[in-house]
């Protein structure tokens, strides 16, 4: 009168294996769920009962105890409905014990006996490590991304029971997500191309450097100057992500309860652009019961684009500093602490002042106090984490028409991929992550480049802290030129132009010089 069914629960973006033990005995009729279930999980009792009855299955007038082992781990969500129902039917002898041997179950039950999907099917199935899994039909495609278990899916509990009883064959599965389409023609949506961008020599260079070296980028300029246009073209020049990276990003999306993005399944880096009204929890992840991954995690292996950076709440922006530094988000709650991946390339866009015009055009309407307040929203430590600071100007009419054709994204992507290859050969993940103590070994300077840096340091245009960042960017610039050895002077001069600091971003007086 006892059954044990393997299943899993979600903790952050990882699945944890859970064994659902069902015990049926004589005694006062009752149904108890023990083993730290959360509210949704405890309500399984009512859903399971209704589902069994409406599927024409027996409900025992006996004492039923469900234990979710290990009992110290907090179980969240409704994905344990299905294993509880199956366990109960096995314990009652309704289903043969051998029919469920080595099979894991995940799914929520409707009162009419349909099997509904739950967030995180992908990580849950990955955590199960059984030879077969039964999942809801909508989750079957993502379950198939996991190598190993045979994936089965039925629409209703009644259908599942008849299959397990041997009365019917397993129904056919929906089409799986293809791991990677053969050509770019099958990409879900054509990406915008860099060839559409007129002028913007500095912006284009910065984009290329960001893609090649993993350097965070902030773009500042008046409305209509093409900041968003540039940022949106970053995806098109990033190299395709590996299968492991694709799986990781898919796992995070799945755990967040989001449909798997077609672009990511096709091997394209994810691009997340949360609105500036986003809360700290939306951005970083968390929540009181279900620790949902936030935007920084969803952008893992890809780009997080924050448009209108100073419009984000200051507290939210300051929260970004830790994930930017450690590439993970640590979320601690009273009952659980999880570490979520947060390895993203940050691209931000902003206006130089509240009215947007900045002091270039001479048409800025802001008062000094407004500009000061605006500038204060961006702390020094936050801006410091951007390796690339770029002032984007609004092109004039003459620039828009009389310009030679520009490079396409595909041409730039070739250079970016080659630069990344050079970087990988050195055994580092990206140039932006070169540790300071290895800079001399990885990014040695040509004598002229050194002289140039020393001169700028002496003119106090540069701080010692900024120096390391300049050298990393210069390394990437040299890599993009295919120069593996010492970093030449032009790379250093360009790097300096790509990171001029606050003066280029904000129209506030006092930052001018």
């Amino acid at each position: 009168m006892i059954a044990a069914i393997p299943s899993a629960t979600l903790l952050g973006v990882e699945g944890r294996r859970v064994v659902v033990e069902v015990h049926v005995s004589t005694g006062l009729p009752g149904f108890a769920v023990v083993g730290l279930p959360d509210a949704a999980c405890r309500e399984a009792r009512d859903r399971v009962r209704a589902a069994l009855l409406s599927s024409g299955l027996p409900w025992p007038l006996r004492r039923v105890t469900v234990n979710l082992a290990p009992s110290g781990l907090r179980k969240t969500g409704s994905g344990l409905d299905l294993p509880i129902a199956v366990g109960l039917l096995v314990a009652l002898g309704e289903i043969d014990r051998r029919a469920v041997e080595g099979c894991g179950f995940v799914g929520e039950l409707g009162l009419d006996g349909t099997i509904r999907t739950v967030p995180g099917v992908l990580p849950l199935v990955a955590a199960l490590r059984t030879t077969a899994v039964v999942v809801p039909v909508p989750g079957a495609a993502e379950a198939q991304l996991v190598r190993g278990p045979a994936v089965r899916a039925t629409r209703t509990l009644a259908e599942l029971v008849s299959v397990l009883k041997g009365e019917a064959p397993w129904p056919p599965l929906p089409a799986p997500h293809s791991p990677r389409p053969p050509g770019h023609a099958e990409l879900p949506m054509p990406l915008p191309d860099l060839a559409d961008v007129r002028g913007q020599a500095v912006g284009r260079a910065a984009l290329e450097v960001a893609a090649a070296g993993g350097h965070h980028l902030v773009l500042s300029g008046p409305p209509g100057s093409g900041k968003t246009m540039l940022a949106e073209r970053l995806s098109g020049i990033l190299p395709p992500i590996s299968r492991e990276q694709m799986l990781e990003t898919c796992r995070i999306h799945s755990a967040a309860g989001l449909p798997l993005p077609g672009g990511v399944l096709a091997g394209r880096a994810p691009f997340r652009a949360p609105h500036h009204s986003a809360s700290a929890v939306a951005l970083l992840g968390g929540g009181s019961s279900w620790l949902r991954p936030g935007e920084v995690s969803l952008a893992t292996n890809g780009v997080l684009f924050l448009d209108e950076l100073p419009e984000f709440p200051v507290a939210v922006l300051e929260c970004l500093r830790q994930p930017l530094e450690e590439r993970v988000v640590r979320i601690a709650r009273a009952r659980a602490a999880v570490t979520l991946p947060a390895d993203f390339l940050l691209v931000a866009a902003m206006n130089p002042c509240p009215c947007g015009e900045g002091n270039r055009a001479g048409s800025c309407q802001c008062t000094l106090a407004q500009i000061e307040r605006y500038a204060r929203r961006l702390s020094g430590p936050l801006l410091d984490r951007f390796d690339l600071h770029v002032a984007v100007s609004r092109p004039d009419a003459h620039e828009l028409f009389a310009i030679s054709p520009q490079e396409t994204s595909a041409e730039v992507a070739v250079r970016v991929a080659a630069a990344r290859e050079l970087c990988r050969a050195r055994g580092i993940r990206s140039n932006a992550a070169i540790p300071s103590h290895r800079l001399d070994a990885i990014a040695p300077l040509e004598p002229r480049a050194r002289a140039l840096l020393e001169r700028r340091l002496a003119a106090s245009e540069l701080s010692a802290r900024g120096l390391d960042r300049i050298r990393r960017v210069a390394r990437t610039l040299a890599d993009l030129d295919g120069r593996d050895g010492a970093v030449p002077a032009e790379a250093v001069a360009t790097a300096l132009e790509l990171r001029p600091g606050r003066r280029a971003l904000l129209a506030a007086p006092g930052y001018a010089a």
């Binding site: 002032a391 310009i403 032009e490």
Partner: protein, 450 residues
């Protein structure tokens, strides 16, 4: 203008002969200087410069302090706002009298709760000096004002200036051109012995002060006049400049220490800048800028005003251009114009200044020689045209092309790439070379000519 800061041996030195502590509880400590009483009265709540003037006018502060403390009825006469100053002149007398009574009661209470020794000791502990109208060291230039400040607080050393004082004022939102000219004028004038007086605000003021520090000869340390207390650093971003001024210049204010720089105090501050100056130079100002108030104050007391002309398209030069056009100011085309104005003033009012140290030169004489040798320098000065041509002749055609595209307005690198149709790397290398030669410098979101 001259002022030795130490009436009663107070400001610059240490606590020599400090009476603090020796007079326990005595309401009128015999060892305290009279200015200690003035400082206590000045620091009363709601005390304005005008009320202070009426209270202390022409008599020892000790007397006024005693009367206030005792609630002497004769005080009411002084406390009542004079006719016309308060709203509703005729019907208002009773109301003004009532107001005066209220203040008298309040201040009597306040004074009984405050110790003169304590106030004086804390001023000395912060090395803040107090100069009162009528003191030997009171800046004589201020006597020209219709409403000279009764009391001046000084931090730093208001040493007797060897040369005359030049006020340099202008907008906080200075362009590169404005802060460049302010810095240049500050440096050149200080180098010739003039004391630069300004308001330590962002933009033109700060540029003028900083420029002055680069070249100042001894005895010509710059003076900043603040709207708030001399211990209140405003704007906070100029903290470094403030400490420099305290260390080797002076920070002056008519507001007691701790006073916040509230808006109504700025026009009053501006009149002190005008009063301390022999000549006033406006570098950049919008039509309604605060600098225009300084110009008005200068006009009222006959201080000659010079304005630096600017682009007719620049909002920051609207005010200065207008001053020149309407004859309110002479154009200041270079430092020589300012020097010429100084000499004229010194001739007219020899008692104010020591004309010996004033020497006139239009990019000639001393400054001209400096100019030749300064071609590689990075501080302050600007190359003259021949020097630029000489340096440019050593440059490549591409570098010359980039230089020609630069101006006093910020040019972004994007634009340079477009205009020269050359790749980014060539443009940044050219810019680097130009900056090495002292011809260009990064500014704002791009580059400008140096």
């Amino acid at each position: 203008m001259t002022a030795d800061p130490a009436p009663g041996g107070g400001l610059s030195g240490g606590p020599s002969g400090g009476p603090s502590g020796s007079l326990s509880g005595g309401p009128s400590g015999a060892g305290l200087p009279d200015n200690a009483y003035a400082a206590v009265v000045a620091a009363l709540p709601d005390m304005t410069p005008a009320r202070l003037r009426r209270l202390l006018h022409d008599r020892p502060a000790r007397l006024a302090h005693g009367e206030l403390r005792a609630g002497d009825p004769s005080l009411l006469e002084r406390l009542v706002d004079p006719e016309g100053e308060a709203a509703g002149a005729a019907a208002g007398h009773a109301r003004r009298l009532e107001r005066a009574r209220m203040y008298a009661r309040w201040w009597t209470e306040e004074l009984n709760a405050r110790s003169v020794e304590g106030t004086w000791a804390s001023l000395r502990a912060q090395s803040i000096g107090v100069v009162r109208l009528g003191d030997e060291h009171y800046p004589r230039g201020l006597l020209r004002l219709p409403d000279p400040p009764e009391l001046l607080y000084v931090r730093g050393e208001l040493v007797s200036a060897a040369g005359p004082a030049v006020g340099i004022v202008g907008t906080r939102r200075a362009t590169h051109y404005g802060s460049g000219v302010a810095g240049e004028f500050g440096a050149e004038l200080a180098g010739r012995g003039a004391t630069i007086v300004s308001g330590m605000a962002l933009g033109v003021d700060a540029a003028a002060h900083s420029g002055a520090f680069t070249r100042a000869v001894s005895g010509a340390a710059p003076i900043a006049v603040l709207a708030g207390g001399v211990d209140v650093v405003y704007p906070p971003r100029n903290r470094a400049l403030y400490h420099k001024l305290v260390e080797s210049g002076a920070v002056v204010s008519e507001a007691p220490p701790g006073t916040a720089p509230v808006s109504w105090r700025f026009p009053l501050r501006n009149r002190i800048i005008a009063g301390l100056s022999a000549v006033l130079v406006v570098v950049e100002s919008s039509r309604q800028g605060g600098s225009m108030l300084t110009v008005e104050a200068a006009d009222r007391i006959g201080v000659p005003v010079l304005a630096v002309p600017g682009s007719i398209r620049s909002p920051q030069s609207e005010g200065t251009n207008l001053l020149i056009a309407q004859g309110g100011a002479h154009p200041a085309l270079d430092v020589g114009d300012v020097m010429a104005a100084l000499v004229q003033v010194a001739g007219d009012e020899a008692r104010l200044f020591d004309p010996v140290s004033v020497s006139v030169g239009r990019r000639g004489g001393r400054a001209g020689r400096d100019g030749g040798g300064r071609s590689q320098s990075t501080s302050g000065g600007r190359l003259d045209r021949e020097a630029v041509d000489r340096v440019l002749s050593r440059c490549s055609p591409h570098e010359r092309a980039v230089y020609r595209l630069l101006s006093d307005d910020v040019t972004q690198v994007d634009t340079l790439c477009e205009a020269t149709s050359s790749p980014l790397r060539d443009v940044v290398l050219a810019l680097d070379r130009l900056s090495e030669l002292g011809l260009a410098q990064p500014h704002g979101a791009g580059w400008v000519r140096r």
